[in-house]
């Protein structure tokens, strides 16, 4: 027994050490995550406090008597140092309490569950369109380099990059809604006949209409989302086609392509299977970042199409000094970026065996 003690102790230490080595990446990841969120919240909180808007006026309006102003000022904790206010908020977040929105009178967590799916649905469809059209256009441009298809794709891409989204949206509405009657009114996600009656399960109306088995509502939802999603996707198409073209040009100059051609492999197989197969690796990161940008940056589109999304929620919250709403939204956006970065890293390893 006395002899075995050192051995057991050694085994125990060895077990702890090996376990630590195994979970070290996980601990490192968790601490990185915590630091990222902490930094994000701190930065947003400070920016919010630097905004020249009185949060008390934002809450009670400018007509409230001075006594009520003073009472609310203290109730909101504004008499305390900013650092203390921040840590009070952080304490709430750690307990899962994101607070209540001044503007909507709802819990911020409830608001996010309402607004984020609307943005998620729009951005996802826009990204799908972006990949479906942007990647083939990029391949076409690379294969026909310095020929008219290449010029056309690059020209259209240039417009997609440089045209203001607000202007594009208004032009799209005038053309496709006012004149051609192809799409539904820019009034939100559903016509009033469905807006009130549809049971929201996921808060993504395309999915909810399918769950409800209401084909008419699904068509209505599609008619509402197709234009804003297409306009948003124009940006993705423009960016993805340019990036795909660049990656493809790089791949098409590789020696394995020449070897394949010498071996008599079909041009289709060379372009779509081998070259594009390798180009997908960097493309995945580009797609993930484009998707993340759309998830937090479609404010103007949401305004023009009366789309109740997260971008508008955060922007309106910032202008109204509704800091709980802004910080809650920021956490979601941060989480989205982190998740998509992780997902693209994983996909990178799946697509490229050298990275495993």
């Amino acid at each position: 027994m006395t002899e075995s003690q050192p051995t057991d102790g050694f085994k125990a230490v060895s077990f702890i050490t090996s376990s630590f080595i195994k979970i070290k990446p996980l601990l490192s990841f968790v601490s990185m995550l915590a630091m990222t969120f902490f930094g994000l919240l701190l930065l947003t909180f400070v920016i919010g406090r630097l905004m020249p808007t009185d949060p008390v006026i934002a809450m009670i309006g400018d007509k409230a008597p001075e006594a009520l102003y003073q009472k609310t000022y203290i109730e909101m904790g504004l008499d305390k140092p900013v650092v203390v206010q921040f840590f009070y908020y952080l304490g709430g977040v750690l307990q899962g309490d994101l607070g209540t929105s001044v503007r909507t009178a709802n819990l911020v967590s409830d608001d996010i569950l309402n607004y984020f799916p609307a943005t998620l649905e729009l951005a996802t469809l826009a990204t799908i369109f972006g990949v479906l059209f942007g990647v083939p256009f990029g391949v076409l441009a690379a294969v026909r380099q310095n020929q008219w298809p290449d010029y056309l794709v690059r020209f259209l891409g240039l417009i997609g990059h440089s045209a203001p989204i607000f202007w594009l949206a208004m032009m799209g509405i005038v053309l496709f809604y006012q004149h051609l009657d192809w799409v539904a009114a820019p009034e939100g996600r559903l016509s009033v006949v469905y807006e009130y009656t549809l049971v929201k399960v996921t808060n993504m109306v395309l999915i909810d209409t399918l769950i409800a088995g209401d084909w008419g509502a699904f068509k209505d939802a599609f008619a509402h989302i197709i234009l804003p999603a297409s306009l948003l996707s124009y940006y993705s198409i423009a960016y993805l086609s340019r990036m795909t073209r660049s990656f493809m040009l790089d791949q098409l100059q590789q020696e394995y392509v020449i070897t394949a051609r010498v071996k008599g492999v079909s041009e289709f197989s060379i372009v779509w299977r081998h070259a594009l197969g390798n180009a997908w690796v960097p493309l995945v990161t580009v797609i993930a970042l484009t998707y993340a940008t759309l998830l937090e940056g479609s404010v103007l589109t949401e305004i023009v199409f009366s789309w109740p999304g997260l971008g508008r929620y955060i922007t309106d919250g910032l202008l109204a000094a509704d800091m709980n709403a802004v910080l809650g939204g920021t956490i979601v956006v941060g989480a989205v970026f982190i998740f998509l970065n992780l997902a693209s890293d994983l996909l990178y390893k799946v697509l490229d065996p050298r990275a495993r």
């Binding site: 006026i57 608001d111 009657d181 009114a185 068509k219 599609f222 008619a223 023009v304």
Partner: protein
């Protein structure tokens, strides 16, 4: 290359499928038994009538709750009972006794009694939210309100004020949103930690009006459902769908296509654009909101009376009415809007650059000066401010415009950190005291004052006028009272650092088949109750 075309065909096929999905869904007209309204209502932050103080919230609660008293939107001097069938006033002018209208039911099915009315008014005082001063100015506090406002039996309510105020002043305050009657049983059933149901009522409904609030999604949609048992008769429209359409140009497109029945926020250019469309008609109504330029007397230049007067002569009132405000405003140069008891309609000021120059010379500023003007970042306000900038420049005054978000402007204004301010003010109720109390009364001009009316924000503290304002609110004879307000306004017009410019006119674009929509002088009197589709 063929392969690429095959791919392209697939893409075209997908696009075709997408279009076919949309093809049958785009011709949705508004339902026959429902009204669809496009409106910017992102200012609604609560549905609790003890807290609602925003224009949009007031309109929603105005259509969904009953109050003791109402007034005719076409003639506000005509006051009548709503939830109160009749009322009387004691000889000393302090006690108001209301007999409740029998047979009013809340949406819960509960019958309204005097206890509900007493509870609603008591609750507003105890919760002490932003609009509570409308009632507490009669001497009510959380400590005494249950004695001062009480039910005497099932159908009688008494309200006892601390002084004998002008009766119409008290009655008009009871027409305000904060005096809406809530269902006591229903509200208290949702009480948490003694909050009198506040947390629940912020997002729920407990009223008895012609419509019920079925759904409110902030900045998205408000759904009102007709109250089939309404004591005044069920409304024709089964539902009112109010959609938040932030862009006024989009509202115009939706109205033209028939996807909405009413557009509430058409701008000047859009109004011109739809004026010749025979499918659309315009409904106009003078609102109580006044737009004015104010001068902070803490600034040594603006503190000079000649400078204040000069600036009043450097505004192109008529030009603004005809261009920037075309159809959306009328010149009004006093602190009471037209339609109010004792409103002064004299317009002594017009653009007169020579007179302004001579006044500036007298003040020692013959070469003008530089000044900052803060203004909310909204098109009609910015355009008005630009016009002021242009006309001020004719007398050598260089104005630097500082556009800000609405709440940022109010932050600066309330802190008295501005020089010039251009903005609007809407009355809280239909009695002249509402504006007199804020523009003509300031009893303590110190930075730490307990009361900070608009006069204080501009460091204007007229002693005599403050006294006259307090006297006017106690005058029970309406004609004498009107004369008192006329005198106060005349003095204010000459003496105060305010240039009142425009009284807002609300304009709504309606499809030609819509009848019965009423725009009242305040947002809580805009009514959907009588709307029909022809």
């Amino acid at each position: 290359m063929k392969l690429f075309f095959n791919k392209a065909r697939h893409l075209v096929g997908i696009a075709g499928l997408a279009l076919s999905l949309t093809a049958t869904a785009v011709h949705a007209q508004t339902p026959k038994d429902a009204l669809v309204v496009g409106w910017q209502f992102d200012d609604i932050i609560t549905l609790d009538t003890a807290e609602v103080f925003e224009f949009s919230g007031a309109e929603i609660t105005g259509n969904t709750y009953d109050r003791l008293i109402g007034y005719d939107p076409e003639d506000v001097s005509k006051i009548f009972g709503v939830a109160a069938q009749s009322w009387s006033i004691s000889d000393d002018g302090k006690t108001f006794t209301f007999k409740m209208r029998p047979g009013i039911k809340f949406s819960s099915g509960n019958v309204m009694s005097a206890e509900d009315a007493a509870f609603s008014l008591q609750r507003a005082i105890i919760l002490d939210k932003s609009p509570a001063f409308i009632l507490s100015q009669f001497g009510f506090s959380a400590d005494n309100v249950k004695d001062k406002i009480k039910a005497v039996g099932a159908n009688t309510l008494t309200i006892t004020t601390d002084k004998a105020y002008a009766p119409t002043f008290v009655l008009y305050c009871l027409t305000a949103t904060i005096a809406s009657i809530v269902d006591k049983k229903e509200v208290l059933s949702h009480e948490v930690d003694g909050d009198m149901g506040y947390a629940w009522l912020r997002t729920h409904y407990a009223g008895s009006g012609p419509y019920e609030i079925s759904q409110w999604k902030p900045s998205e949609i408000v759904v009102l459902t007709a109250n089939a048992d309404y004591w005044g008769g069920a409304p024709a429209m089964k539902n009112i769908f109010i959609r938040h359409i932030g862009e006024s140009s989009v509202q115009q497109l939706l109205l033209e296509k028939g996807d909405i029945d009413i557009a509430r926020n058409l701008e000047t250019e859009q109004l011109k654009s739809v004026a010749n469309n025979d499918q659309i008609k315009l409904l106009k109504k003078g609102k109580g909101t006044l737009y004015y330029l104010s001068m902070n007397l803490k600034d040594p230049i603006l503190a000079k009376p000649q400078v204040q007067e000069a600036l009043k002569y450097l505004i192109d009132y008529k030009g603004l009415e005809q261009t920037v405000w075309a159809g959306r405003g009328q010149v009004q140069q006093a602190f009471l809007p037209k339609g109010f008891l004792g409103a002064l309609e004299e317009q002594p000021f017009s653009l007169n650059v020579e007179k302004a120059k001579s006044l500036l010379k007298e003040a020692g500023y013959a070469d003008g000066f530089e000044m900052e003007l803060i203004v909310r970042n909204a098109s009609i306000r910015i355009d008005t401010a630009k016009s002021i900038q242009t006309t001020f420049a004719k007398a050598g005054i260089k104005v630097k415009l500082i556009p800000m978000d609405g709440k940022q402007v109010l932050t600066v204004y309330r802190a008295r950190k501005h020089q010039l301010f251009f903005g609007g003010w809407g009355p809280d109720y239909q009695d002249p005291h509402t504006n007199a109390d804020t523009f003509a009364k300031n009893l303590d001009n110190s930075d730490g004052a307990k009361s900070k009316p608009v006069a204080w924000r501009n460091a204007y503290a007229p002693k005599l006028m403050s006294k006259d304002t307090r006297a006017a609110v106690l005058e029970s004879d309406a004609s004498k009272r009107a004369k008192m307000y006329l005198a106060i306004q005349r003095a204010h017009q000459q003496d105060a650092p305010f240039a009142f410019i425009m009284q807002e006119q609300e304009v709504a674009g309606l499809r030609s088949n819509i009848e019965g929509f009423i725009l009242g002088p305040s947002f809580d009197s805009n009514s959907y109750k009588n709307v029909v589709k022809k």
